[in-house]
Each structure stands twice: as structure tokens, then as C-alpha cells.
Symmetry: C2
């Protein structure tokens, strides 16, 4: 192959979202306890993580539900402390960049490989991460789709990619998830690397062309496939 | 009279919301320009303030509208920088407490005067301000109503107040606005002090019992009415 382009996933690939999310939730619970929420940390922790599982990360009212389930529905004094502390945690977001991220992106730049981002979520939230991580300017193009499960949403990216005139097999897709990253992109003809970071890393079975523990290993794989 | 209680408004009374809002908007525009929005500051400033006038401060998408009106609707890279910088400004919220606020609240505590808050807005946002300003614990009771224009919304507060057994004329209402603070509370029998802070301070006409430039003057007025 002739490596022409790399398509990255963001969460738990270039950015350790699972670790950051746990950090922000811990900060929030801590702040609520300091403002007087007399419920053991472990109980809140379990409940809050369940609520995130149940409603998904793009839901806007995790802490409202937590307070409701703790029988403190209208205690805005404490609720606001949690929400505020969770948001304030973003000031430290740049520490949660995946180790090796800058090395990898700089290496690709030097080799004149195109760099794309293909991520699921809410555009302004995903861009916020890129800005706070300080990596926004590395990308030749960024695609934020609502739902990577929905193949149709990849159309914008595919149309753009195919216009470039590169073979799909000359492009690597790098992501953490089997279902939304590896499988659909492999099916479309892209080469794939699965990075075992974050909450999906326990599921070891993969159809990816390559496996990597972190971005340092990704760099090595790409070097060999230049 | 025998001063038994004081009811405070929050925005532009205990907290200089107008000044903070202008600060946060400046920070946001600055961040957007640094991320590449090549539109003169003065143009953005005028537009953004118009948008706040038009949609009100509890609208959630001021910066989306700004970008739309600048013909950059889907430029999430820049949009996110603005939104993020505006929120980050909250880290400095405690500097925007009204001068004399702590002195006044501590004075009332010493004199065993009850302290209430009666504010319009979204509960979690108003509580967030109290927490960030560090004054949440001073209040004997906090009432956040959606709309102080709507007299019916004062019912919770009135019911609570009247149960205390104090005469309404033994309680001062302190706020910055003629329409939602002074008039309705005076009509209900409370004593009123209008504080000339923030964007409503230009309209000088008032029916308030007392006028004050700031919270130091409020303290003097209350001392004389103990």
C-alpha cells in the first residue's frame, strides 16, 4: 500500500474520554459532598455511572436525575455545585490527550499524509474537545456525524474522500470501537487499526487489520505501512 | 419600624451581572478571533449584544445565532471556542460580587435580621452564582421564580413570609429594577430600596422608599432603620 491518509476517531482514540469522564464525575460528586450532600461517595458513584449508561453521555441532565434518585429533586444548591464542578473539570481536558498523540500527528504531517477526523456526537462538543486538546489545526478535514451506527451518515465523508482520488485501501481508519469504527470502515474498503483504550477495550475480539495498545503502537504500524 | 428581614434580588444587586456578562462576551469574542474569526471586534460586539437583547439571557444559543448572522453557520471550530471561553469566564465570577456585599450580609447576621433571596431565572443557574460567589450560606431561604413580572409567582415567597409572623413593613426589599423588584414589592407592603447598579441604573425615576448607589449605601440606610 501507499499510505495517503489516516482517519481518526476522537473519543478514546486521540483523547481518553473514558478517563476524563470518570475524573469529571468524581470532581462533581466531591463538590456536591462538600456542599452538604451526605450520601456516601460509593453510592453516588454507582448511581451516577448507571445514569450515564442509561441516558447516554449526550443527555443534558445526569445530575438532575442523580438528585432525583437520591430524593433531593429540588436541591439546586447542591445540584449546581455538581454541574459546575463537572464543567470546570474541562479546564484540565488537555491532560487527557492520548499519550503519543502529538508524536503521531506530527509524524503524519512530516510524511505528508492527510489527516481526517470522523467522530460521532454533537459538533460543538466535539470541536470543543479539539480546541481544548490543542489539536484542531492538525486535521485536513473534520466530520462530526450524529450516529456512526447509521451508515448513511458516513456519506459526506465518503463523497469527500473519494473525490480526493486516493484508493480506500491507501487509508487507515483508527478507532477504539469494533462496531462503529472498525467494522463499517473495513467493509467500505479502508484499512483498520483498533486501539484498545477506554471502556470498550475489554472486548478483545476484533476484525481489524491491526491491533494497538496505544498511539505509540499505532505510529509503529503506520511506519511499517508507509 | 423594627427591621426583621431583608429580601434581596440577585442580578445587579448582590452580584454585578451586567459587568460579568459583558466580560464573558468579550472573552468569547476574543477567543473566537484568536481561532480565526476575521471580523472586527466592534462588529461582533454590537451583533452579540443585540442578540442578547433579542433572545434574552436565558436563551442557550447566542453564539450559534452570532455565527449564523456572520455567515459562518456551521463553523463549529470557532463557535466552540466562543462558547467555551464564555463558560470559562465563570472561573472569575467571584470577582463580580457587588462591592460591600459581604460587609452587608455579615452586618445583617450580627443584627439577627433574616436574609432571603428572591430572584428570577433558572434555579440551577441562580444557585450556581450563589455557590461561585460564596454567599449561598447566608440566606435563610432562597426563592427562584421563573418570572418576577408574574405576581402569582411571588405566592410561594409571600406564603412563607407571612407564616413567619413579621409585618411586611418590617422587611426591606432590595433590588435594581423598578418594574420587577420595587413596584410589586412596595404594592405588597414591603419597604423598598432601589440600588442603581447595572444596565437598568440609567432609568432614574423610582417609587422606592430609598435610593442607593451601592451596597455600602444600602447598609447605611438599613442601620438607620434598625
Amino acid at each position: 500500500m501507499e499510505l495517503k491518509a489516516v482517519v481518526f476517531d476522537l473519543d478514546d482514540t486521540l483523547y481518553l474520554s473514558t478517563r476524563f469522564n470518570l475524573f469529571a464525575r468524581r470532581q462533581a460528586i466531591e463538590a456536591m459532598m462538600l456542599r452538604g450532600l451526605n450520601v456516601p461517595f460509593s453510592k453516588q458513584w454507582k448511581l451516577l455511572n448507571q445514569i450515564y449508561e442509561e441516558f447516554g453521555s449526550n443527555f443534558e441532565k445526569h445530575y438532575n436525575v442523580l438528585m432525583e434518585r437520591l430524593g433531593r429533586k429540588n436541591d439546586y444548591r447542591i445540584l449546581s455545585a455538581g454541574v459546575s464542578a463537572h464543567h470546570a473539570a474541562k479546564n484540565l481536558l488537555s491532560y487527557f490527550i492520548s499519550p503519543g498523540c502529538f508524536e503521531l500527528l506530527l509524524f503524519l504531517k512530516e510524511k505528508h499524509v492527510k489527516i481526517f477526523l470522523l467522530t460521532g456526537g454533537i459538533p460543538v462538543k466535539q470541536w470543543d474537545k479539539l480546541n481544548l486538546l490543542g489539536i484542531a489545526d492538525f486535521f485536513d478535514e473534520v466530520f462530526v456525524v450524529e450516529d456512526k451506527h447509521d451508515g448513511r451518515q458516513l456519506n459526506d465523508f465518503l463523497e469527500f474522500y473519494d473525490k480526493l482520488g486516493f484508493k480506500r485501501s491507501d487509508c487507515f481508519m483508527i478507532g477504539d470501537r469494533e462496531d462503529v469504527d472498525v467494522k463499517p470502515m473495513k467493509k467500505l474498503g479502508f484499512k483498520t487499526i483498533r486501539v484498545f483504550q477506554g471502556k470498550y477495550s475489554a472486548k478483545k475480539k476484533t476484525t481489524a487489520d491491526f491491533k494497538a495498545r496505544d498511539l505509540f503502537q499505532v505510529k509503529k504500524i503506520l511506519e511499517k505501512n508507509l
